[in-house]
Structures are given as C-alpha cells and as structure tokens.
Symmetry: C2
Amino acid sequence: MRPRTLRSANSAPRAKALRLHGTIARDIGVRIVSGKLAPGRVLEGEIAASEQLRVSRTAYREALRILAAKGLVESRPKLGTRVSEPRAWHLLDPDVVSWIFSAQPDPRLLAGLFELRTIVEPAAAALAAARRSRGQLRTLRLALEDMASESLAVEAGREADRQFHSALLEASGNPFLASLTSGIAAAVTWTTIFKQRGAPLERNPLPDHRRVYEAVDRRDPAAARAAMTDLVRLALLDTTRARAPVRKRAAARSARRR
Amino acid sequence: MRPRTLRSANSAPRAKALRLHGTIARDIGVRIVSGKLAPGRVLEGEIAASEQLRVSRTAYREALRILAAKGLVESRPKLGTRVSEPRAWHLLDPDVVSWIFSAQPDPRLLAGLFELRTIVEPAAAALAAARRSRGQLRTLRLALEDMASESLAVEAGREADRQFHSALLEASGNPFLASLTSGIAAAVTWTTIFKQRGAPLERNPLPDHRRVYEAVDRRDPAAARAAMTDLVRLALLDTTRARAPVRKRAAARSARRR
DNA sequence: CCTCGATATAAATATGATAAATATCATGAG
DNA sequence: CTCATGATATTTATCATATTTATATCGAGG
C-alpha cells in the first residue's frame, strides 16, 4: 500500500534536533541577519563570550565556524571575530534564509526573494515540463492533491504549497535550481502569510497550480512557463496589494535606491 | 588619484590564508564533491581521523562543522559522520562551487551552471539597467576596460571577465542575485577554459559585453536583457562546440535521466 | 617620514577527560 | 516466529586547560 501523502512518504521532516553549537550559531546568526549585531562589529573574545553563554569555548568556537562557513562572520587572530558585510553573507544558504525569515524580515530582502521567484520559477517550470520523470510528476501530483484538501490558512496547506514548488524545482533536473528550494519555499510561505494578513483571500491558488501541473504532465514547456509566470505574477500582485493597500509603489521605489 | 583598475581598488582579493581547519575542510570537501567519498559513506571516528591527519581533534571537528554547515556531511552520535546525499549539498555555496570546480568538474554540474546563467543573467541585466547606480556603472566600465586590455588567455583577462559579470549581478540591486556571483563566475571561467581548449577563439567576446554595458548605461532594460541573452547564448554555443565537436546532444541526453 | 622589530593580544591548535545520545543486540513476552 | 523492551557499547558532544601562532600596534632608529 503506497503512502498517500507526501508528508508520510518523505523521511520525517521533523525539525532536526539542534546540538549546542547549532543553537548558539542560530542565536547569533539571527541577531546578525536581523541587524541587532551590526556589520563590522567585533564580537567579544571567545573566553568572555563562552562564559556569558555558560558554555565551553569549544561549543562557542564551533558555532563561530558554522557562522564563518555561511559568510556571516570572519575571524582573525588579534583582530577578533567581526560581523561581515551583508554582501558577504551567503543569502541562499538554507539556514541563513530561515534565520532571516524567523522573525519579521527586512522588506527589501523579501522583495528580493519574490523577484528571484519571478526569474527562476517560470524557467524551472519549462525545464520540468521537458525533463520530469514519472516519479517527479507523481510527487508534484501528490502535492497538488494535498493543496486541494487543505486550506492555505493551516500549516498543512502551506506545507503542500511549498512541496509543490520544491518538487517543481527538483523536476527541472538542474541541481543548482534545486538548491534554491529553501529560498523559494520561504518566499512562497511569506507570500501566503501576507495574503492572509491583508484582504481576505479572493483568489483560489489551486487552479493556477493545476495549470502548471497539467502543462508539466503533457510535457509542454511553453505552457508550463506561461502558467507559472501567471501564478507568480498574480501571487505577487496579491502580496503587494495586501502589504501596501494605499501606496502600491512604495516598495518598488525604495528597492530602487542604492 | 583614483585607482585605475578594479584589482587595486578592491580590498586585496588575494586568496585568503586558510587556517588548519579550513584546509582540512577543503580537502575533505573536494573528495566529497568529486565523488571520491561516496554519499552515505561513514567517515572514520574523530580520534582515528585526527591521528591520521596528524592534527588535533579540535581542528578536525571544526572542519566537520564547516562541512556540515555546507550540507556535505551529517554527524550523529553513535552513527558517526556520514557523507550526505548530493541533493542535500549547498551547491550555491561559494566554497562548494570552488571545490567542485577545483578539478575537472562533473559535466552535468557544469551544464547546470551554464543553464543557470541563461536563466539568471539576462534578467539581472535588465534589472541592472533599471537600477544601477553611477558607482556600479563605473565598476562595470572598469571591468570592461580591463577586458579590452587583457586577453582571455591570461588570468588577468579572465578575472576582468568575472568582474564584469559579478558587477552586473551586483548592479541588479537584488542581494540574492548578487549571492549567485561565485557560481556564475565559476561558470564564466570554465566557459572560457573550454573555449581555449577547443578550436581557437573565433569570437571576440568584447563587443558582446560592450553592448550589455551600453544598454545598462542608457538605462534600457529590454536592450540589456537582449544583449545579455545573446552573450550567454553565443558563449554557450562555443562551449558545446568545443566540448563535443561531434556528438553535440550527448550531454543534454544524459542530463535528462534520473 | 619611513622602516623595522619588539610586544601584547586574540585566535588557533592541542590534549585529556566526561557527558549524552543512540545503534545494536540480547532477552523475554506474545 | 514476531515484536517489544531494556542493557550495552560506541561515537559524537561537551567541557576544561595549556600551548602555539598570527598580527595589529607602537616605539625606536634610520
């Protein structure tokens, strides 16, 4: 008997238990990406820091190694460990993405992720239509079915939404596109959250997703690209409406600076 | 007196000195992404491994933390540290990219990066045309001038090429696109290398780049997108010709599997 | 004003010891 | 024979401390 839902099919995606160093890295990482620890700022020495956190220096140092591996800090002898400039951050690292969106994220970053979706997802849909395997199509279908049975208002529905978009990137056959999954998934979730927050959901997202699925099913890249373009564009439209009901263009204008 | 070249303007991009843990992480990382350490394989315990490498357990453990932060390994008590499945690798991490391309990379991955270029760079060019600051335009121009004065046959020329594409992504104003710099830069370099390896360079890449620059200069997104599309398409064409002069479609077919 | 070298400081490395987690296997109930 | 349960062994995780190394800073000398 086949498992009916993705949830039960996948290897339990329960939040993996963080060890001590992981916890420390997450805490400091969140403070960095949220701006509480400004770039250029020098963290206190490892002796002081580890004492303050009540952990050993080993645990603290390993946390710093993790953060350094993600480009958030840089440490050199004598100078100390300092917070890196945002341009050095590995923004597409799954953990960094999750840290950024663990609280109210910077609207500019959110806009950047949405923009990335408009660039990447239509192309990924076209590739998926050309290359998808039968198994990948099945995964896509299961996600669609879960979307149909669950509302986006509940976590299960949002998870199904994420699964659909992740499965599509995976089906593109391009491992680098698949690596964008975490970022896209975060954008997908926040799109929904903003929609919920604003006006009541006018638009049922299911038909849009179904059109993408059907194009991928019949191996029609052009139709898949067009359907996904529509899906993303409409989602984006709803989002900007929900975020700025009056001043629609404010976000676009501020993003243009710098 | 302004510095004339990007090289001297930037904060010394000399290869940063790797510390011991960084060296270990790179060595093991390269062995993983090159397939010498197969996914699922369990690394020997930290005592044995550190002794074999003649380093302390601290250094070895910190190396593992780095690798874990990039999704290459996963370690749990009792089970040990095992190489993760490729789908878990953070392929867009700058270090992972550099490790992949430190030797003869997997053709499939190379093809994937090229494909990413065709998706991302035209869109980035269009955004850059709409948003670029004067400083960003100047950086782009300097890179173009360096390209004009140096041949792609020498490292300085390839560096200028990379700088051009990096500056363009930066000028897109989207931090997530800018994060793709390392990956795109690697693809740019390998495009050139394959060109050199094959037939002698028939096509001077400079005019293509200049057209992109001019479109960005006069803030013409559509033209910038078109020019970059041409640039990437032609570069790709040269590459596939150089790589597979006879069986042009072999790579595409094998990539379709799975 | 510049160069060179001493020095202080913080990270980097090493080592040993203990704690915690969990795969494995033996055991016993059904 | 199958499955649940618990003991056990192994491995990472953590802690604590000592030593080494890199380098920013500053001062003496040119």
